[in-house]
């Protein structure tokens, strides 16, 4: 049972998309915490 090239591509592309957006999300959260004064 071999995984197809398309399935492999789908998994990897989705993972890479999520990972690419993660830093943006973290920075957004950081700014939100900072504005609300609850960073620490």
């Amino acid at each position: 049972m071999t995984i197809s090239a398309a399935a492999l591509a789908t998994i990897v592309v989705i993972a890479t998309l999520v990972a690419s957006l993660t830093p943006i999300l973290l920075i957004a959260l950081f700014i939100r915490d900072w504005k609300k004064g609850c960073l620490w």
Partner: protein, 488 residues
């Protein structure tokens, strides 16, 4: 063709990067810790860490050099399942989310995982737990320092001992200066560097090699890697998951964060951190599948990630990998130094040597212990070849799967089962570790954690059912409040 004989990054550039980031981390550590006055500030960052920093520190600490180096290695050795199985390590973080909330509720004044075991199960079980915990923590520290030296050497040709010393010293200094605040603050930046770097390399690999070429060449040269019924990979799946769960559930690295995160932050931070961590091993790992398409020789399995990155991206790739690896190593080493020194301060120094130690004593003790731990780690890592027992410390970590997985059930039962039996908890750690070790030798490394966890489940559930020992949850908070004594 790239090879280990020739470092992929010029030594001068590597020294520049090392120096720049070392200064950055130390300066940040000093700046973040400049207002620390009490043991509580130093050890638990004031107990009110917000969601952004909490999520990032959970992710960064769980992205060790492992994720950046071992995810590609597992993809190369166990294929698609190896890569996906490794990403299931995220479940350790996700499952710890409800535990973190429970821990914060039960012990608003708690400091370490040892505190909990002592109050919940009594002294004997506490000591068994400390042995398991410290073997794991020290083994992880030494191996991480060794990994740092080896990787810096392989990437940039800098002498093993020099590279190891630099990375360890930097982490000790900023942990010493800023405590958990410095650890968490640097973790935030390190997380962003690690993830952005890994994603950058992944996109360029996709662009330059392409999935058709990757798939075609794998099928030709290493077909099992694409096989969804690859037996060793199937066996590996749950073992890896339980190893990760055991590491997180028992280790003070994660408990001290549960105590440090603000009210209502712990659950969301661990959940979000786990979900965001899920794709990282896939992103970091899949590039190894491109080796046949690129025609690279891989002389050692753990170097496959840097080799592919350097082949695809040249000098830029080597620089990105070096920065990512340095960030990943630092983010885990600092956390481990901080959490282990807390554990030693609370459970060994205050627990066994000076029960009457004041808050101020403990504050100073933590700092001395961080330095001592750093020194001990340095000694073990630099004389690894010459002292037989220390030389095999890295090997010792093979075995820790059995130890940490056998602590899963005593922790879960301790937090949730009112009738959990203390003797049963000690026995389940002892028997789980023993049988896990036996299966390690009899069957293979990929079942040690699995057996440890299964045995500890049977012992814990059986002893609780046969000899229930009701426990008053309120004791956890009551007994801890005066003893914490950190309000200076």
């Amino acid at each position: 063709m790239t090879s280990l004989g020739a470092p992929i990054l010029p030594t001068s550039i590597a020294w520049g990067l090392l120096a720049a980031f070392s200064i950055l981390w130390v300066a940040l550590g000093w700046w973040l810790g400049r207002h620390n006055r009490t043991a509580e500030d130093h050890m638990l960052a004031g107990r009110n860490v917000g969601l952004a920093l909490a999520t990032a520190t959970a992710m960064a600490t769980w992205v060790t050099a492992n994720t950046t180096m071992t995810a590609p290695q597992l993809a190369l050795q166990l294929g698609v399942w190896g890569m996906l199985g490794y990403s299931l390590g995220a479940l350790g973080l996700i499952l710890f989310a409800p535990l973190a909330r429970r821990i914060r509720e039960l012990m608003p004044e708690g400091f370490t995982s040892g505190d909990f075991i002592r109050l919940r199960y009594g002294k004997f079980t506490w000591r068994v737990f400390l042995v398991v915990s410290l073997i794991y923590a020290f083994g992880w520290l030494v191996s991480m320092a060794m990994a740092g030296g080896v990787l810096i050497n392989a990437l940039a040709g800098i002498d093993y001992r020099v590279g190891m010393t630099v990375i360890l010293t930097v982490c000790v200094i900023y942990t010493l200066l800023g405590g958990l605040r410095a650890v968490i603050g640097t973790d935030f930046i390190q997380t962003i560097i690690i993830i952005a770097g890994a994603a950058f390399i992944a996109w360029l690999t996709i662009d330059k090699v392409g999935f058709e070429a990757i798939h075609f060449n794998l099928l030709d040269e290493r077909p099992e890697l694409l096989n969804l019924l690859f037996p060793a990979a199937i066996m590996f799946l749950f073992n890896n998951l339980l190893f990760g769960v055991g590491e997180i559930f028992h280790s003070n690295v994660w408990w001290s964060r549960a105590f440090a995160f603000g009210r209502n932050v712990g659950f969301r931070a661990y959940l979000l951190g786990g979900l965001l961590w899920l794709p990282i091993p896939i992103v970091a790992g899949f590039i190894a599948l491109a080796t046949p398409a690129l025609g690279i020789n891989v002389p050692a399995a753990d170097m496959v990630g840097p080799l592919v990155a350097a082949e695809v991206l040249g000098l830029t790739g080597a620089i990105v990998v070096f920065i990512v690896v340095f960030a990943a190593l630092a983010s885990s080493l600092d956390s481990l130094l901080a959490a282990t020194s807390d554990l030693v301060t609370r459970d060994i120094y205050r627990g066994h040597i000076r029960p009457r130690a004041s808050a101020q004593n403990q504050f100073h003790a933590t700092k001395v212990i961080v330095v001592l731990l750093g020194l001990l780690t340095w000694l073990a890592a630099s004389y690894r070849g010459e002292i037989p027992i220390v030389g095999s410390l890295a090997e010792l970590l093979y075995f820790t799967g059995a130890f940490v997985a056998s602590a899963i059930w005593p922790i879960v039962a301790g937090l949730y089962w009112r009738r959990a039996n203390p003797a049963g908890a000690a026995l389940s750690m002892i028997l789980g570790s023993t049988l896990g070790l036996i299966s390690y030798f009899a069957i293979g490394f990929y079942v040690a954690a699995l057996v440890g966890a299964a045995v500890s489940l049977v012992v814990m559930a059986g002893s609780t059912w046969l000899w229930p020992r009701p426990f008053d949850w309120g004791r956890l908070a009551r007994d801890e409040a005066p003893a914490g004594g950190s309000r200076a």
